[in-house]
């Protein structure tokens, strides 16, 4: 029964995709609005049942979970690939996030995409995305994960370029796809190395065999680094992050679901899933932590000077993902997963609220041309404010607890790192409140036409917002630390998944007692509050509107506005040389060498065929003669010679 439910979870979104994709425009919109979100809702209900079963098991102290084999895919030689799912607390939790948040965003899309010509196509792609994301999360071996991994990449590409008549959007889609491919190459190589090292790609076998390796073994370090390259691409970390801000070309629900709540967290999930391997490779852990920290700061700094509402959120996503990797790199797997979950709530909320703003503003995304929307869009404003407070890390909202968990584990490793990480958090508070104030406070800076129909979106869009706001406020409950009177449920729930990795990790350098913890939390909160006030005084009290002229005067601001010129740098370093190289390849290799060889071979084959075909004369006598020649040749060859 349980196996059946598990198997059915990804089936429904796939069905939805097939129906909507094959039926295309023949299916009426009403029905499509039912099928699109409906299939995800069914998956959510099934995931919830599975989650309850797993949670009940974990309360009883279950330490191992069965693999659900759907079918034996192929067997050859020593390689046996089975299409199977593995549901443990980690994937059960991810299932809830993917289907739950996914469902809310599907519902929201009914309103947001209402007047779009590609309505059915949109839901078909979204369902396909959910399907692949579920495959990624549920797979019982790295290959199944890779299928999902590639599949979500494909859907991301299709949805970024959803409005394909705009060439810029297509370019953004291509950029996302290519950047991801670079990472995927690492993932693929990592998989090959995994297979040659462990002789299997199944999680259970790999993790079991990994226990026999000593920490710091070269091959495990290589595997984890290669896999991490995949995570860097998918989760938009330095140096492969530049695709994510451009990915905002897609419709806003896509940004919310794929480029904030779920797909981009796949890298985090993958590292958490492979926790034992990473625990065996301290060098990789350092790389992960450093990459995460640097990305967190870097993206936060860029976000301060951006003016596109979705791009700010995109950079904040990169930055928050950086915090998750920081947590992973320090061995705080549960903390990273906790932040992943709360981030899914509040970032989906922020994006959807931003979508509501963009909807009301007729597609305007520049916050310099907004202002004063608070009174016209009260519901959007309040939900956005909740999201902002949550991401800024003010208690008692969810983001506070999850970020604090990562920060305190940073503190136990190094005080300097902690200071750096907190600086990033302060920047987050600043740019998010800058965004909030510029959008919702002050005077309206748009045009008259926008002003006339400035109002909150319809209920079908607002209800998901309100639910997500509720989750953002209360989501911290799942892992309330003992300090706040909780029982750290997530820790005990996920504990068995990370049980083998925990003893291998470096212990804390500093001991964190309750008093220190209170102190650290207090300091953080005070500084965050200060940042909010600073933002308020700049953008509300003095009502400063960022403009080009003032920015250009300060070199720091100029660099940050131009995002450290990374896009230009990549263009110079990689894009142009490869374009040049491909031109050379085309002109010399392709036309002069390959074409000639291929055409020559083709001509040869055609000539040979032309000669042989004349043997087929149609005369029986000739045929019999040829056969007798053959018979004599065979007998001569075998019997006489």
């Amino acid at each position: 029964m349980k196996d059946l439910i598990v198997t059915l979870i990804p089936v429904f979104p796939l069905l939805g995709f097939l129906i909507l994709g094959l039926g295309f425009n023949r299916i009426p919109k009403k029905l499509a609005s039912l099928i699109g979100p409906g299939t995800v809702l069914i998956s959510f209900i099934l995931s919830f049942i599975i989650f309850v079963i797993i949670a009940a098991g974990s309360r009883r102290g279950v330490q191992t979970w069965p693999v659900t084999e759907v079918f034996n895919w192929m067997t050859f030689g020593g390689l046996s690939l089975s299409f199977s799912f593995y549901i443990d607390p980690l994937s059960a939790l991810m299932l809830l996030v993917v289907t739950g948040v996914g469902f809310l965003i599907h519902v929201y899309s009914i309103g947001y995409m209402e007047h779009d010509q590609g309505y059915n196509r949109f839901f078909a792609y979204m369902n396909l995305f959910v399907f692949f994301m579920l495959i990624l999360v549920m797979g019982a071996n790295y290959l199944i994960m890779f299928i999902g991994w590639e599949g979500v990449g494909l859907c991301s590409y299709l949805l970024i370029g959803f409005w394909f008549r705009n060439q810029e959007f297509n370019n953004a889609a291509k950029k996302a796809f290519i950047m991801n491919r670079i990472g995927d190459l690492g993932f693929l190589l990592g998989m090959f190395l995994l297979f040659t090292t462990f002789g299997s790609l199944n999680y259970i076998d790999v993790f079991h065999n990994a226990k026999g390796f000593l920490p710091g073994t070269g091959v495990v370090t290589a595997i984890t680094l290669l896999l991490f390259a995949g995570a860097v691409g998918k989760s938009a970390q330095i140096p492969l992050y530049t695709w994510l801000p451009d990915a905002m070309a897609g419709p806003t629900p896509v940004s919310a679901l794929i480029h904030a709540a779920t797909m981009v967290t796949a890298g985090v999930y993958m590292v958490a899933r492979s926790n034992i391997l990473y625990a065996l490779a301290p060098a990789t852990m350092t790389v992960v932590a450093v990459t995460g920290l640097v990305t967190a700061l870097f993206a936060a700094a860029i976000a301060i000077y951006q003016n596109d509402i979705k791009k700010i959120l995109a950079y904040s996503t990169i930055s928050q993902l950086g915090y998750m990797f920081l947590g992973l790199g320090l061995g705080a797997f549960t903390g990273a997963m906790f932040h992943l979950i709360t981030h899914a709530f509040f970032k989906a909320l922020l994006f959807l609220a931003a979508g509501s703003v963009i909807h009301a503003m007729d597609g305007e995304q520049d916050i310099r041309k907004m202002g004063g929307l608070g009174s016209a869009l009260p519901k959007t404003r309040w939900t956005f404010l909740i999201g902002t407070i949550t991401i800024a890390g003010m208690p008692p909202f969810a983001g506070f607890f999850s970020k604090d968990e990562i920060l305190s584990s940073v503190f136990t490793h190094s005080m300097i790192l902690w200071v750096v990480a907190v600086t990033g958090a302060l920047m987050t508070a600043f740019y998010m409140f800058r965004l909030y104030f510029l959008t919702f406070s002050g005077n309206f800076r748009g045009n008259i036409k926008q002003l006339q129909h400035l109002r909150d979106a319809e209920p079908v869009m607002m209800i998901p917002l309100i639910l997500l706001a509720f989750l953002s406020v209360t989501g911290g409950i799942i892992n309330l630390p003992a300090l706040a009177g909780g029982s750290a449920w997530l820790h005990s729930f996920l504990g068995p998944v990370f049980a083998d990795a925990t003893p291998l990790l470096k212990g804390p350098v500093y001991f964190l007692d309750a008093q220190t913890d209170y102190l650290l939390v207090g300091v953080t909160i005070v500084y965050v509050a200060v940042m909010i006030v600073v933002a308020w005084s700049r953008f509300v009290k003095k009502s400063l509107i960022p403009d080009e002229a003032t920015i250009l005067r300060s070199p720091v601001a100029r660099i940050l506005t131009n995002k450290f010129y990374i896009d230009e740098l990549y263009d110079l370093l990689f894009v142009r040389p490869s374009l040049w190289l491909s031109k050379v390849c085309h002109d010399v290799m392709e036309i002069r060498i390959i074409d000639r060889t291929v055409n020559g071979a083709g001509t040869l084959v055609v000539k040979a065929g032309n000669t042989i075909r004349y043997l087929q004369t149609g005369h029986v006598g000739f045929y019999v003669f040829m056969m007798v020649v053959g018979i004599i040749a065979i007998l001569l060859f075998n019997l006489v010679i």
């Binding site: 067997t75 055609v606 042989i612 019999v624 040829m626 056969m627 053959g630 060859f637 075998n638 019997l639």
Partner: protein, 458 residues
């Protein structure tokens, strides 16, 4: 055994219906009868029954291959209603002879004695001579039957002579005893035995249409009524290859060196000549004839690389090849019905006018080419991999080269359908016919995605 009995009863039943004049009953009876017989065949799984002093041995491999033959016949009969619509003459004879031909092919997959092999081949062949000429009014059909009969009876002589020589040398027709003889005498095999062996190869090579004994195939395929050509290209082809495989894997593994080189050369010749000549064919039917020749070359790899796994690979290959070929013939029948010919020019514009049929034909041809993720690719992959395991590197390289050449002709109809503008007559496929074609296409895709269902059977 129950398979042969049930099929024979089915054939007689059709004749009886013909006597009663119940023409409309034929197809339902046949389709149900084939399914019943398929079920009876499958019930023999794992039983490993031996009949009449080892004359017939129904082991798992014969169950699996017989099932594929019966199933393919079933698939072909699904087209029969459409193909023979409007035909006034009674059809009981054609249908019954087809069923009897199937009986012969089933015998070729489960013989335990060379006499049974010969009887199977003759049951099949004589039925085919009649079927090839079953369109009495057409001169091409008459030509086909005459050519086939002349050359077929000529080569049957070689087959029988070969069997006689083997008997003379080893003193037995029983496969186990011949096998024991080869083990005993492997070092100093008598010339008589060797001559018998090669005459046997020659006889079978003719039935399979292996180069240079393939000349009959294109002419006969072209003249034979299309529905029956589909039967020849799939059921007959698979049965003959399986007979060769069964014979060599049971009787002659001990003297591999003796026959290895000859079969190697024949396989390479078949692959190259089949594919090269295929490039020059003006119409789909002749092209499929050459395609079937080159595919018998690939399937000979399974005979050469005999191992436990090559039986699996051959099974998958036979299934993939049969399904894709039947699909192509199904659409060929439609186009011939609408246009009166099957020149590639007749396919122009089909992509827009008949998207479903065009896509199905495309997938079938891609599968025959061996493009992933379709069944044909998986089948080729497993087949080539088993051959590589046995060290046939060059053979595999040449086979892959042959596959590459085959792209040249498999893509011809695809190009015509999609890239050439044409008036594109609407094909008159009924709903059932269309559904059947789509079903076949889904099979091709599923076999490619989930080869494990067939690959671990034997």
């Amino acid at each position: 055994m129950s398979t042969i009995i049930s099929l024979s009863v089915l054939g007689v039943l059709i004749l009886a219906e013909g006597l009663l004049g119940k023409k409309a009953w034929h197809l339902p009876t046949i389709l149900i009868g084939l399914l019943v017989s398929l079920a009876l065949t499958l019930s023999g799984w794992n039983l490993n029954l031996h009949y009449y002093n080892e004359m017939m041995i129904v082991d798992n491999s014969s169950v699996a291959f017989s099932s594929i033959l019966i199933f393919t016949t079933f698939l072909i009969f699904m087209f029969a209603g459409h193909y023979y619509r409007g035909v006034q003459r009674p059809l009981d004879d054609i249908y019954a002879i087809l069923i009897f031909a199937l009986v012969g092919s089933v015998m070729m997959t489960s013989f335990g004695n060379l006499i049974m092999l010969f009887l199977g081949i003759e049951t099949l062949s004589i039925a085919l001579y009649v079927l090839a000429g079953s369109h009495k009014e057409a001169i091409t059909s008459n030509e086909a039957t005459l050519k086939y009969f002349l050359m077929g009876s000529f080569l049957s002589g070689f087959l029988l002579f070969g069997i006689a020589l083997l008997y003379g040398a080893s003193g037995s027709l029983n496969m186990d005893e011949i096998s024991a003889y080869t083990v005993r005498e492997a070092a100093h095999l008598s010339p008589m035995f060797k001559a018998g062996l090669f005459l046997l190869i020659i006889g079978l090579a003719f039935k399979i249409a292996i180069v240079p004994f393939h000349f009959w195939a294109p002419d006969v395929y072209e003249g034979t009524p299309t529905l029956l050509t589909a039967f020849m290209a799939t059921v007959v082809k698979v049965a003959s290859i399986v007979a060769l495989f069964r014979l060599f894997s049971h009787c002659f593994p001990a003297i591999r060196e003796t026959w290895e080189t000859t079969l190697w050369i024949l396989a390479v010749l078949t692959i190259l000549v089949g594919n090269l000549t295929g490039l020059y064919q003006p119409n789909l039917k002749r092209m499929l004839a050459y395609s079937s020749i080159s595919h018998s070359g690939y399937m000979m790899l399974a005979v050469l690389a005999f191992s436990a796994r090559s039986a699996d690979a051959l099974l998958l290959y036979a299934a993939a090849y049969s399904v894709a070929t039947v699909t192509a013939f199904g659409i060929l029948i439609l186009v011939r019905g609408a246009k009166g010919n099957d020149l590639f020019t007749s396919f122009e514009g089909l992509g827009r006018k008949n998207p479903v049929e065009a896509v199905c034909l495309t997938i079938a041809l891609l599968s025959l080419t061996g493009i992933p993720p379709l069944a044909g690719f998986m089948a080729k992959y497993y087949l080539f991999a088993t051959a590589l395991e046995k060290g046939y590197l060059w053979l595999v390289i040449l086979a892959v080269l042959g596959s590459a050449i085959s792209v040249g002709y498999y893509f011809k109809p695809i190009i015509s359908m999609y890239l050439k503008e044409g008036e594109g007559i609407k094909l008159e496929a009924g709903f059932a016919y269309k559904t059947h074609i789509v079903f076949l296409t889904v099979l091709t895709i599923l076999l490619g995605l989930l080869p494990a269902f067939l690959i671990n059977l034997l």
